[in-house]
């Protein structure tokens, strides 16, 4: 599955890996997000922080028409308002997908897999 965009010069095919990288980078640029987590918590461990090359293990993309739905798995720092950090992730993921790839997002579902205690 990938997202296809038709333009006057031809078809643009954006693979899920690209989308996962954009989503992951947008999500982790938010304040309070200390890392991306794997969607397969049992296999990969709940609080394993993914590196950039592995962002796609923490992002699920479903596409329909020219719109997509993404699930983002994140780890949030302890002592922050988790609901608000997650809402910021939704906003910035949506914005980055539109801004960088021109894709409209139907929904951004944020799954907080773990909370990391930062030393005080």
């Amino acid at each position: 599955m990938a997202v296809k965009i038709k333009t006057k010069n031809g078809l643009i095919d954006i693979s899920n890996g690209v989308i996962a990288t954009v989503v992951g980078s947008a999500a982790t640029s938010n304040y309070g997000v200390v890392g991306m987590a794997s969607k397969n918590a049992i296999r990969d461990g709940v609080d394993v922080i993914l590196n950039r090359a592995n962002y796609k293990r923490g992002v699920v993309v479903k596409s329909e028409d020219n719109e997509i739905t993404v699930d983002v798995y994140i780890i949030v720092g302890y002592g922050l308002k988790i609901s608000e950090v997650s809402r910021n992730v939704q906003d910035s993921v949506k914005f980055s997908l539109k801004n960088q790839l021109g894709i409209d997002t139907r929904a951004v579902n944020v799954i907080v897999q773990s909370v990391k205690v930062l030393d005080e």
Binding site: T7, K8, N9, Y31, V34
Partner: protein, 552 residues
């Protein structure tokens, strides 16, 4: 007099004034908001966050500063809104941790608290972006710490923190390119500066105005940001509530009869009642005001009570806005090479526009545009050369006539269907000549098979197909090939006939008399048999044809 420590009453003042200052400037902070998401709500978010903290402080009767910083931090955490709100809540969480159990704060402790706030705030971010609220907080805390090594006056330390924040805020456009591009400072950093300024104002009390003055340059920057905002929000001209951008300078030293004493706070409050986007600064000599209002005269009359009016400027923003809007309209029209397509249905129009068609002439099967309509469209485009896509066999002749009498070179790509028109557009290249474009665009037409589904209006037999009134007809490249009483079946049967081994992409546009559900049914039917095909479904909104389908 040297102030050695901040007690709980002083701290309450600081929080109260900071919240007030943030609230009053929330709109302005919103106007700066371009990073990380330009949604213009940073000021609102920071205001709600600090308000929630201030409420918690007000409800806590404690006389110990440590208890109050805890309430502030917890209140801000609970009320945190937006990225900037979350960051400031974390900043104050660090401040609370450093002041735990302290009844009062001396200069060193105050500086330490801010430093610890910054240290805590930086921990919860993977890749700190410099040029944001974090940078402003960091530089401010540094300056505070430096000052605390020199003096034990808390006023001076807080002043150093504010100056540090201010200095750092000015550098944010150099650190963050997106800010420079738009020509603003970081919104979150500006919000934090307002909060810090409020703290200082709370400490200094009435002396604040004497000790601390915003400068002229800042005012100009703010005005720019305000106007940046007006352009950014693409409101329509009628939506401008306060039509005159009014700026005055009042020379407060001038001797005038019945001169009233000047108070910036009162002055602002009065003006905010007669306008919005208000900015007002003053020092002992001059007050400078920028306001959007319906009654510029009232601003002059009010200002002139406090002194002589210096520079006066009024712009009618409605006219300015209309000019901007008209300019962009004209820009759209003055293309060098125009493509004009005949189409009907909103969805179809949008598809053509998204492919770069400049003008659409309404028309299709039942209402063919005349030669004159096409000539008019060519003229209106203002272009030096043009391509016309008739998108219907019946219009090709009219288009050719229009091309013959046109004053500019016009090429006709003989597209007989909407699908052909859309495919032809893919080969359009504005850098090539009319002839070259007609050649390359026509060449591609062979690659696409067009199908149209519509309802029969009478019984007949064409091409060995028995047609019954009210049945659905599948028309492939202009020939009726399929007849079936069920829309979906007729469409699926038609597409089956259109396929060959090179077929890859099938585009389906459902029209006014059909819907997405029916289109999806067609796709599901076809997908079951052909798993190598790709489908695209669009809402064409076209009349007459239930489905327009192209196979490439």
């Amino acid at each position: 007099m040297v102030l050695k420590e901040i007690d709980s009453n002083k701290f309450r003042d600081m929080v109260r004034v900071a919240t007030h200052r943030m609230g009053r400037n929330a709109e302005f902070v919103n106007s700066l908001n371009v990073f990380p998401v330009p949604d213009g709500d940073t000021g609102t978010n920071m205001n709600l966050t600090i308000e929630s903290g201030a409420k918690a402080v007000a409800e806590n009767p404690s006389t110990s500063v440590g208890d109050l910083t805890e309430s502030l931090a917890k209140g801000m955490l609970m009320g945190a809104r937006g990225n900037s709100g979350v960051i400031s809540s974390q900043l104050f969480r660090g401040i609370y941790k450093a002041t735990q159990g302290m009844k009062t704060l001396n200069a060193q402790e105050l500086a330490n608290a801010f430093s610890n706030g910054v240290a805590t705030a930086y921990k919860a971010v993977m890749k700190p972006v410099e040029g944001t609220i974090l940078t402003v907080a960091r530089v401010a805390a540094q300056e505070g710490a430096n000052k605390a090594n020199e003096t034990d006056d808390v006023e001076e330390v807080m002043e150093a923190i504010v100056d540090g924040a201010k200095k750092s805020l000015k550098t944010t456009p150099d650190l963050l390119p997106v800010l420079k591009q738009v020509g603003v400072v970081d919104s979150g950093g500006q919000g934090l500066l307002f909060i810090y300024e409020g703290f200082l104002e709370g400490i200094l009390g009435e002396n604040f105005a004497d000790r601390y003055q915003p400068d002229e340059g800042e005012m100009d920057e703010m005005i720019n940001a305000m106007h940046h905002q007006s352009v950014q929000t693409q409101l329509s001209t009628q939506d401008i509530e306060n039509g005159y951008c009014t700026e005055i300078m009042v020379d407060l030293t001038a001797d005038i009869p019945n001169k009233k004493p000047f108070n910036l706070e009162e002055f602002r409050n009065h003006l905010s009642e007669i306008g919005d986007s208000l900015l007002a600064v003053s020092d002992d000599e001059v007050a400078k005001v920028h306001v959007h209002t319906e009654h510029p005269g009232e601003v002059f009359a009010y200002g002139s009570q406090f002194g002589q009016l210096g520079k006066i400027k009024i712009d009618n923003m409605r006219i300015q806005h209309e000019t901007i809007v008209n300019d962009s309209d004209e820009q759209q029209e003055s293309v060098d090479f125009a493509v004009i397509a005949v189409a009907s249905g909103n969805g179809v129009r949008k598809l053509f526009e998204s492919e770069g068609v400049n003008r659409i002439i309404s028309g299709g099967q039942t209402m063919n545009p005349s030669t004159q309509d096409i000539i008019d469209a060519i003229k209106k485009s203002g272009a030096q050369k043009a391509i016309v896509l008739p998108n219907n066999g019946n219009i090709v002749m009219a288009a050719k006539q229009a091309a013959e009498v046109s004053e500019i070179p016009v090429g006709i790509v003989p597209t007989k269907t909407i699908s052909q028109g859309l495919t032809a557009m893919l080969s359009f290249d504005p850098d090539l000549s009319v002839e070259e474009n007609v050649d390359s665009m026509t060449e591609d037409l062979e690659a696409v098979v067009s199908g149209e589904v519509t309802q029969a209006n009478r019984d007949t037999t064409i091409n060995d197909v028995e047609v019954h009134a009210n049945d659905y007809l599948g028309i492939i490249d202009g020939d009726i090939e399929v007849d079936h009483p069920d829309l979906v079946t007729a469409t699926v049967n038609m597409v089956e006939k259109m396929l060959d081994e090179d077929s890859e992409i099938i585009t389906i546009m459902f029209g006014r008399d059909s819907n997405k559900k029916q289109a999806d049914e067609v796709v599901a039917n076809l997908e079951a048999k052909h798993d190598d095909l790709e489908f695209e479904v669009h809402d064409g909104g076209q009349p007459v044809y239930n489905f327009l389908i192209s196979v490439e």
